[in-house]
């Protein structure tokens, strides 16, 4: 029994303009999608070249969901994106070279080499760095929303979780607190159908994750996560509703994880046909086609954007490789914060 609303795909340019996006915004979204995928593709190559230590994760297939939601956020809003949400970092403005520096464990990554992968965020951009433990950042996001509510600010917190992590108690406690207090909180489920090798039916037993929103006292909506504009529209609705005091929403973005869990995993357990089916719905291709059909994206524009992204990436990798590895003498620094750090809080 489905309880949540299932969102329609986005049709016309008119509809998009009603949702507050002009053509520049659309091109920026396109650029962000390309940049997101580009970073992860380049990262993958660097990884194979042995330049990235540890393991390596990508969000291939999830670019539209991440970029769509982040585009809907206000500049003062905050969020806790996860390992498939590179698009959120890009959209919020993290400089690509710093991401490569992070991947390679260099001092110019947001964690200065203390952590790897997408375990990072630039808090000046309103993002809070994830931990591995899923979805431990959801209650933290709810806490941000609580602070906004206490201070009566018109700000919203956005928290991400996977359909696998939906099984954990933290997801429930976060939704319970947000729901009982009607906090300005939006929950985004990156539902990519697999949690490592585990299929959805072993993680939850309802039709949709969004169905459970009703039992937390708020709305749930399921959206095609490959349709960046539909994701944007639903996220925008949810965020503005929260901002207006309407309480939380759970937005479930349906995608397929288009690669293995991490690069070591060939995803043998995912049926081939499923990959083929979702490859045909590639979020970048889909948006490119839409832009051509509805927003007159020209060949020239397309090449310009692609060329620009490529240049940024080349330059970013170069710059990241120049960034030094951390000095071992810094190993013991920063276990504890100093009082001065609270004098200039990243966020008021």
């Amino acid at each position: 029994m489905a309880i949540a609303r299932e969102a329609e795909p986005v049709g016309s340019l008119k509809e998009v303009e009603d949702a507050g996006l002009d053509r520049e915004d659309l091109l920026q979204i396109y650029r962000n999608l390309l940049m997101t995928r580009g970073i992860e593709e380049r990262g993958h190559i660097l990884y194979k070249q042995g330049k990235i230590p540890g393991s390596f994760y990508t969000g291939r297939g999830n670019e539209a969901a991440a970029v769509g939601v982040a585009t809907a956020m206000g500049s003062e809003d905050v969020g806790t994106p996860l390992h498939r949400d590179m698009g959120v970092h890009i959209t919020r403005g993290v400089e690509p070279w710093r991401i490569f520096a992070q991947y390679m464990g260099r001092v110019d990554g947001p964690t200065k080499g203390r952590d790897g992968n997408v375990h990072m965020a630039d808090d000046r951009l309103g993002l809070i760095a994830m931990v591995s433990h899923l979805p431990a950042m959801l209650p933290v996001a709810v806490g941000c929303a609580l602070a906004f509510r206490i201070r009566e600010e018109q700000r919203v917190a956005v928290g991400w979780f996977g359909e696998g992590a939906s099984a954990r108690g933290d997801t429930h406690e976060a939704m319970t607190l947000a729901g009982t207090r009607h906090l300005p909180m939006v929950f985004i489920c990156d539902n990519n159908q697999w949690a490592y090798s585990t299929p959805s039916h072993l993680e939850y037993a309802s039709e949709h994750i969004a169905d459970r929103a009703a039992s937390y006292g708020f709305e749930g909506v399921v959206v095609d996560g490959t349709d960046v504009l539909a994701v944007y529209r639903e996220a925008k609705r949810a965020i503005e509703k929260a901002r207006a005091g309407g309480g939380p929403t759970l937005v479930e973005c349906m995608t397929l994880r288009m690669e293995g869990h991490a690069v070591h995993d060939d995803a043998f357990y995912v049926p081939k046909e499923l990959f083929e089916e979702w490859a045909a719905r590639d979020p970048l291709e889909r948006f490119r086609t839409w832009l051509r059909e509805h927003a007159e994206l020209s060949d020239d524009e397309e090449h310009e954007i692609a060329g620009d992204v490529k240049k940024v990436l080349n330059e970013a990798i170069r710059r990241a490789e120049e960034s030094p590895l951390p000095d071992v003498d810094t190993l013991l620094e920063g276990v504890y914060a100093t009082p001065e750090e609270l004098e200039t809080p990243h966020h008021k």
Binding site: I128, P139, G143, R181
Partner: protein, 340 residues
């Protein structure tokens, strides 16, 4: 460096002081901070209308409103996770666990997120978790524990365990000001039993500094929380036999004041580490190991540990009494040490 008794806290001369219970001191300190700093808020189960299981926040909701004194759902991870989030965007949350025992339900949040966020990404997490802890009233295995030792192994956390009303207030203020996650252990057995003078004005007792509870020459006891009083009674017994015992009240477990302990041990040459928590892997081991290593040449006897045995806290009064270190046990341990 040890602070002599007269230097305690930062209370300046001329301060108005009043007799207060340990519980009142905590309550007053918290109220003062909330009046002073709008960023401070309180969240926990039953802290609002009810004023908390031990009534530490009685009347707070009337004064500060329902959004600064929040009755939380029965969900410890939500409570502490929310504190971390709120702290990151500029608040100064003070959470109450109904009993310290229930912090086990938020272990992951504390060790995984709160403790590591600053080292990993430079994000400060200034939260305080108030933890009514300790036994002595037949609370049984789940309402009597002293879980500080488990946390005292996690870099990034701070842990305070005040023994006196004055320290309880001053350390709470410091904990709220501290830019790190601070676990604030309040010993339930002291709440209403211990009364002493507490300055009315605001003051900070430094985190990480031990307090010289009692000067002595022959033996040192290092301890904290309710055991400070057990130690005091035992020392009085020893005094009758002309053995002079120095008592160092550690006050802070993380970071602990190793210099103060070493200084005392260099003087007395004999050390008893005493705590109410269970022995194996208890924080007493860290103290004993450190002192045995760093004061090796000064020790006239092995460093002894006296702690609860390695069992859950039993409910039935005779068992609980046999479990929690008693004055007689401390006297016995001190006597053995004196005779070594």
């Amino acid at each position: 460096m040890l602070l002599a008794p007269e230097e305690l806290g930062n209370a300046t001369l001329g301060t108005i002081v009043a007799e207060k219970t340990y519980l009142q001191a905590i309550s007053d300190g918290l109220r003062q901070e909330m009046r002073r700093d709008k960023r401070v808020f309180v969240i926990g189960e039953d802290v609002g209308v009810y004023g908390g299981a031990f009534k530490v926040t009685l009347g707070f909701q009337e004064e500060f409103g329902a959004w600064r004194v929040l009755d939380a759902p029965l969900a410890e991870t939500a409570i502490l996770g929310a504190c971390t989030g709120a702290a990151i965007v500029g608040m100064r949350p003070v959470a109450e666990m109904q009993f310290a025992d229930f912090i086990s339900c938020a272990w992951d949040h504390l060790v995984t997120v709160a403790a590591k966020q600053h080292y990993r990404v430079g994000t400060a997490v200034p939260i305080v978790v108030r933890l009514p802890s300790g036994g002595g009233f037949s609370g049984g295995p789940f309402h009597s524990q002293n879980p500080e030792s488990s946390f005292a192994h996690i870099p990034g956390l701070k842990i305070v365990c005040p023994a006196t009303p004055e320290d309880a207030k001053g350390l709470l203020v410091s904990a709220i000001e501290d830019p790190n996650p601070v676990l604030f252990f309040e010993h339930k057995h002291l709440y209403r039993r211990i009364k002493a003078e507490v300055p009315d004005e605001r003051y900070l007792t430094p985190i990480g500094k031990a307090r010289l509870h009692q000067e002595g020459e022959d033996l040192t006891i290092v301890t904290w929380g309710a055991m400070v009083y057990t130690a005091t009674e035992a020392a009085a017994e020893l005094a009758k036999k002309d053995v002079s015992v120095e008592i160092v009240d550690l006050r802070t477990i993380m970071p602990w004041d190793k210099q103060a302990v070493l200084e005392s041990v260099r003087k007395t040459s004999k050390l008893l580490v005493l705590h109410e928590d269970t022995r194996t892997g208890g924080f007493g081991a860290e103290i004993a190991a450190s002192v045995a290593e760093e004061a090796f040449e000064h020790l006239d006897a092995p460093v002894r540990r006296l702690a609860a045995p390695d069992t859950p806290v039993p409910f039935s009064p005779p068992l609980e009494k046999a479990f929690i270190p008693q004055v007689a046990d401390v006297v016995r341990a001190l006597t053995e040490l004196a005779d070594y």
